[in-house]
């Protein structure tokens, strides 16, 4: 079984890692990180980079298509080449998984028309533009599409997808392995219940990298790594 995680300049790291951490524990799974180009793909904060092993062009098919979000997703909503790749890979996928506004990208590709889906709270009004109906839940399954709320919701949705693929016992084992009995230091509440100033701050954070124009900053990383380490041997050795 192959898991293809599509990353792009300005993705949000936890969107991708939250679900990856459980799905990559599926016995025998092969994980590949892909982007428009090979090399270091820099996250929204400009402080983290993940290596894309392959380009989207090179991926012929996959079993699980995973699309994280992030402020860098917004320009891709009208990028027909990128959306075309999502449509093409979705055509063969057993599951298509979106986190945060990654769900919006799946919707923008036309794949959620007539379906119910969830995306990050501040993006919920957008789904209707692509014919999908927003549901206010942590994660949601509609057919083969599993979509999640913002950022950390990929952890919950990833474990849920594990349970669909593996059954409850193995999914529970993975949840125990990542010690997921969350205890946030502050009372859980939905974004709608948050004070208006916090909502405004976070809206800027989600859409513009904290309103700081982070995406206009030069990436902290440059250069490409010709040989990507996929084995367990040390990259530094």
């Amino acid at each position: 079984m192959k898991l293809t995680i599509v990353i792009f300049d300005g993705f949000t790291t936890l969107d991708a890692i939250g679900g990856y951490e459980s799905l990559s524990r599926i016995p025998g799974i092969e994980v590949e990180w892909v982007s428009q180009q090979k090399g270091v793909i820099v996250a929204d904060t400009r402080a983290a980079g993940i290596v894309a092993y392959r380009t989207l062009d090179e991926v012929k098919e996959t079993d699980i298509l995973y699309v994280p979000g992030g402020p860098g997703g917004e320009p891709l909503e009208t990028d027909e080449v990128f959306l075309g790749h999502l449509r093409r890979l979705d055509a063969t996928s057993t599951w298509t998984f979106g986190v945060c506004n990654g769900s919006a990208l799946i919707a923008a590709a036309g794949l959620l028309r007539g379906r119910k889906a969830v995306t990050n709270w501040f993006y919920r009004h957008r789904l209707a533009e692509w014919g999908a109906e927003f549901v206010a839940v942590r994660y949601h399954r509609d057919g083969k599409y599993v979509t999640c709320g913002g950022v950390s919701a990929g952890i919950d949705g990833g474990l849920y997808l594990c349970s669909l693929i593996l059954g409850d016992a193995l999914a529970k084992t993975i949840q125990l392995g990542i010690e997921y009995y969350p205890a946030p230091p502050f009372p859980e509440r939905t974004p709608d219940e948050a004070p208006a100033d916090a909502q405004a701050f976070m809206h800027a954070f989600d859409t513009q990298g904290g309103g700081l124009g982070l995406l206009d900053l030069p990436p902290a990383f440059s250069g490409e790594f010709g040989v990507v380490q996929r084995s367990i041997t040390s990259a530094a050795a």
Binding site: T13, L14, G18, Y20, E21, E30, V31, E32, W33, V40, A47, A48, G49, I50, V51, Y53, C100, N120, R138, G149, V151, S152, I155, D156, L159, S163, A169, L170, A171, K172, T173, Q175, L176, G177, I178, E179, Y180, Y181, P182, P184, F186, E188, R189, T190, P191, A194, A198, F201, M202, F205, D206, A220, F221, Q229, R230, I232, T233, A235, A236, A237
Partner: protein, 214 residues
């Protein structure tokens, strides 16, 4: 504010990406992933490569040190270049933190002697071998040292630290920003919430992972 995240071969990604997602948003923070050498570092699954922006030797006196865990923990704690750097950084740090078995590496630096600390539940005995008292909590603070339990607990640790370092309002805004309103599909994330069969299955899986890594 300089925040240093110490990467090493076969670390667990979520251990550090959870708190990274919180701490990198601190105004004025410069969070950097470090490793013995700048460049690609492979995680425990062998299927994810995260980039270290700089080498350990390029950074001195960070205000916050964060050490993740992972199956590469034992190799890292036996590596004097890594432990010397952490020990030295701890002398001047404002906060020294770990997630999961990153606590074992702090332990090997002699930082946790006589202190309460937490780690991944499966490594409790190993943590105590460094003179720490394993405490079954998600986040444990002892002065400037904060340890988080296994993997996903790094998010809780990061939010706790953000509240201490900035203030509660900031930490709450970030918690909202990452929509941390968790609703796990099962209530089984700790051994005490799980069944013996599930615990046994996991211990067996983790054992084979460690053998493969050895």
């Amino acid at each position: 504010m300089e925040i240093s995240v110490v990467l090493y071969d076969r670390f667990t990604a979520l251990d550090c990406i959870g708190p990274y997602e919180v701490l990198s948003r601190i105004p004025g923070a410069r969070l950097r992933f470090l490793a013995k050498k700048a460049g690609p570092v492979t995680t425990d699954t062998g299927m994810l490569t995260v980039v270290a922006e700089a080498a350990l030797k390029d950074v001195s006196k960070p205000e916050i040190v964060l050490v993740p865990g992972g199956p590469g923990d034992e190799a890292a704690l036996a590596d004097a270049e890594i432990t010397d750097w952490i020990s030295k950084a701890h002398e001047t740090s404002k906060w020294t933190t770990s997630v999961c078995t990153g606590a074992l590496i702090l332990g090997a630096c002699g930082i946790l002697k006589g202190l309460d600390a937490t780690t991944h539940w499966a490594s409790a005995a190993r943590l105590e071998s460094f003179g720490a008292r394993y405490t079954e909590q998600r986040v444990v603070r002892q002065g400037k040292i904060i340890t988080g339990a296994g993997v996903s607990a790094g998010i809780d640790m990061g939010l706790t630290l953000a509240a201490l370092e900035v203030n509660e309002e900031f930490a709450k805004a970030i918690q909202l920003g990452i929509e941390y309103d968790p609703q796990p599909p099962f209530d089984c994330g700790a051994p005490s919430k799980s069944t013996p069969e599930i615990v046994q299955m996991l211990v067996a899986m983790m054992g084979s992972n460690r053998e493969a890594a050895a």
